[in-house]
Amino acid sequence: MTSLTIGNRLDDQDAAEQSKYDRHNSLTSGHRACQGCGEALAARCVIDAAHRVTGGNIAVVNATGCLEVFSCVYPENSWRVPWLHSLFGNTAAVATGVASAFALAGSKDTRVIAQGGDGSTFDIGLGCLSGMFDRNDDVLYVCYDNQAYMNTGVQRSSATPVFARTATTLPTKGYMGNSIGTGKNVPAIAMAHGIPYVATASIANIRDLEEKISKAILLRGSRYVHVHVPCPLGWGYPPSETIRMARMAVECGLFPLFEAENGVLVGSTPVDNPKPVDDYLRIQRRFAHLFGKNASPDSIEALQQIASRNIEKYRLSGELSHE
């Protein structure tokens, strides 16, 4: 069982990259992310881990979104790696071009990471992402999923959970927020392309996230890692609670952690004694309308069923565990 600890008591080889004094700090301090931003934390972990195992031989292509806006406003730049931003919906295709150019120039060891939020991955950039998977281009695509368009003021994306309140799914009388039966599962879509590697990860488990990135970055072909990154502003919780929020999503089964190779599920992180979704939902303002005066136990039950289905589907009860 991997420890959740990232302290410095562990042996160097077991310690998290983030606990090492000589980590690259790829996304340096001074950027403009909100307090408690899950995406900023995840992005630093991802790029630092990739930087370590490749000996710094990486280039990053970034989609438009929070991560791009808060990290790189001329004349300032928080990235300590070669970094390119083109547009919102074309990141995977740009990364294809970058990877091809490095290969052509004889720098095949330079690994290319494409990264973006759920809006650029699930919605506007899905065509380009699918094209990249289809051609099995040599790129690691990382999606930082905070489950809505946070940069433009919290609007619904197709990664927004059912019944969540966003600026475009405001609950009113008879309308409980984002409708049930909608949304899409991009990790499953990635798996359907049969690409070499697909994984989900959470900033609540940084060792696991780093391990998956370290593994994925050294593979060839298209790889997809999907990271759950809570957003204090969009979800409505205190900035100090980001990690707890991510952990609760994993512990109730709403965000399953798994790995798949060539389209086949090969491992998942077991959820011992799954917690009820109620605990996770109750502390977020985006689900507040499901509780209180006009409580909607049916909606909470529907979300509970989604979590229970995940536990079955991704075999989170332990049978597939490789830990």
């Binding site: 294809t96 071009g97 150019a101 052509l104």
Partner: protein, 410 residues
């Protein structure tokens, strides 16, 4: 060496001689034959050290070339019409990032109604996108301009679009002189990027630019276009010296000396116009022709000088800005210092409508007669060449009948 070639093949061969490292496009008529042929050359190993990427959309096509060019590799794409509109966000992005991508635009009308034939509506839709836009007149010039395009793009760090008339040029078989690899290598040096993604020197490319700096960025893009005027002229001379034939430059003049009416146009229609002018002049007419090769940057000074003497300028244009009129004619007017000079606009060839000598001749001899023009009312600002008024009348009638019935049913 002379070859009997389809325009698209000639362009593909010229592009291959420029040794791009990335060719990426999405199928759309009438551009498709160009990239089909390039694909063949790459897969047969004739164009080596080049990646040919089949993508799922034009947005991906421009994006892959943005990525490869930003990582330091000479990159090429091609598109037409709807495809150009689908990638338009990337078109602006490429020039903003100062990436010297070269694109062939197989000029085609824009729908709806869907129409695959030639006009210049697609090029006009991106006229402010910060690309250099060159319009060849013949297939020979189309091939030659691609060789110049890479040179101009890389000298300026600015993307270049070679706007080739769809079907009229892309699908026409003509004799084209394809230069040797040695000659092209001598003209176009190995690509050395000025700024690119580099592990040894990490840079951020494509940062957000706040209001404190944005005006300056746009001003510099404008300045770069003025610099391009000189580079385009320089490369035309350079090309002529090495290849011993003329191609490109800003504008070209034909029988403008002593002309009372000068016709201005772009692209393949110039051949028909020159033939028409020859016939009219043989009968005592005083007509001349100015071809605009460089549409962006717009060659204002060269054009003003070429048109200075003629009292009457007629612009034949293959695009229409609905609600205002001709686009090229407005730009020609802007660059003329003499405000009393009469500029007429002939909207012609939209959606592939044929432009014939007899149509042009009739128009220039009768509709655009000097006295007639001076007494024109506002609604005669432009002439639609070969417009069928019966079709328009019928359409008005059918719309009237159609609307009423639906309302009655409700």
């Amino acid at each position: 060496m002379l070859h009997q070639l389809e325009g698209s093949q000639a362009i593909a061969k010229a592009v291959a001689l420029c040794r791009p490292g990335m060719v990426c496009a999405y199928p759309i008529t009438p551009q498709t034959h160009i990239v089909e042929h390039l694909g063949e050359l790459v897969h047969a190993g004739e164009l080596w050290n080049c990646d040919y990427v089949n993508v799922e959309s034009e947005m991906a096509a421009i994006s892959v070339t943005i990525g490869s060019q930003a990582a330091g590799v000479r990159s090429y794409t091609a598109t037409s019409s709807q495809g150009l509109l689908y990638m338009i966000e990337g078109v602006y992005n490429a020039s903003g990032l100062e990436l010297p991508i070269v694109m062939t635009l197989g000029n085609r009308a824009i729908g709806s109604p869907i129409n695959i034939w030639n006009d210049h509506s697609d090029a006009m839709a991106v006229r402010d996108a910060g690309w250099i836009m060159l319009f060849p007149e013949t297939n020979q010039e189309a091939a030659d301009l691609h060789i110049q395009a890479f040179k101009i793009a890389e000298t300026l760090q600015c993307p270049v679009m070679v706007c080739v008339d769809g079907f009229v040029l892309t699908h026409a078989y003509e004799q084209v002189d394809i230069p040797s690899q040695e000659m092209v290598d001598d003209f176009l040096p190995h690509y050395k990027p000025q700024v690119c993604l580099d592990v040894a020197n990490p840079l951020a490319i494509g940062t957000m630019v706040p209001p404190e700096y944005f005006m300056e960025v746009r001003y510099l893009a404008h300045k770069k276009q003025f610099e391009a005027l000189k580079i385009i002229e320089h490369e035309e001379k350079n090309f002529h010296e090495k290849f011993e034939r003329h191609a490109g430059g800003l504008i070209r003049t034909y029988k403008t000396e002593g002309a009372e009416t000068i016709i201005v146009a772009m692209g393949s229609v110039l051949g028909t116009i020159k033939d028409t002018v020859d016939e009219l002049n043989a009968q005592g007419g005083k007509f001349g022709v100015v071809s605009i090769v460089s549409y962006r940057p717009f060659p204002s000074e060269a054009l003003e000088a070429a048109l200075a003497i003629a009292p009457h300028v007629v612009v034949v244009e293959k695009a229409l800005a609905v609600g205002i009129g001709g686009i090229l004619s407005q730009e020609v007017k802007l660059c003329l210092k003499n405000p009393r000079k009469k500029v007429s606009s002939i909207i012609a060839g939209l959606g592939g409508r044929a432009i014939t000598k007899s149509m042009l001749k009739h128009c220039l001899e009768h509709d655009l007669h000097w006295e007639k023009i001076l007494s024109w009312e506002e609604d005669h600002r432009e002439i639609f060449l070969g417009l069928n008024h019966d079709t328009i009348k019928k359409e008005f009638e059918s719309v009237k009948n159609c609307c009423c019935k639906q309302k009655e049913n409700q």
